[in-house]
Subunit: 95 residues, 2 copies
């Protein structure tokens, strides 16, 4: 069950979660409430930035494509590029 | 092709990369050279710690199980628990 999805840092029109962006790092659309969205957006940006530094320390031309975190109850998947898409789901619950 | 694997923060005997640990956070065995191992161990510990804080901000009882980073050329998979196991591979190259 996908319980939250949002996109930030992007200009791409999303197919299922459509929106446009006015400022870098501002979530453009989310199914989470506003405070949760802002919280996750900020934290996941930091996480992607740290992952990028890990990758680039050994190859400065390299970059993060996806980042995933599985916890005991949830799964967070982040895809990066010109835009960033994050999906948060409970993989152990049915749709 | 797995090009590097190491474990740290642990006491578990690994099946393929056996070793024992003398201090928390010290890599116990690695197929990478020493400097790369120390570099990745430190960086991945920071990455896991940040991912844990993201997870626990919404649920303090929750914890990270696995963390994965796909880059343009490599893939890093980190499994956490009492011990931490990290595998670094080139998924686009054959074994």
């Amino acid at each position: 069950m996908v319980w939250g999805a949002f996109s930030f840092s992007g200009t791409m029109e999303l197919q299922e979660v459509q929106g446009s962006q006015t400022a870098t790092g501002i979530p453009i659309r989310s199914t989470l409430d506003q405070s949760m969205t802002v919280q996750y957006a900020e934290q996941l940006q930091n996480l992607v930035a740290l992952a990028r530094s890990v990758i680039r320390d050994t190859d400065p031309q390299n970059d993060v494509i996806t980042l995933g975190v599985c916890s005991k109850s949830d799964e967070i998947i982040v895809a990066t590029g010109e835009w960033v898409l994050a999906v948060l789901q409970h993989p152990f619950l049915s749709a």
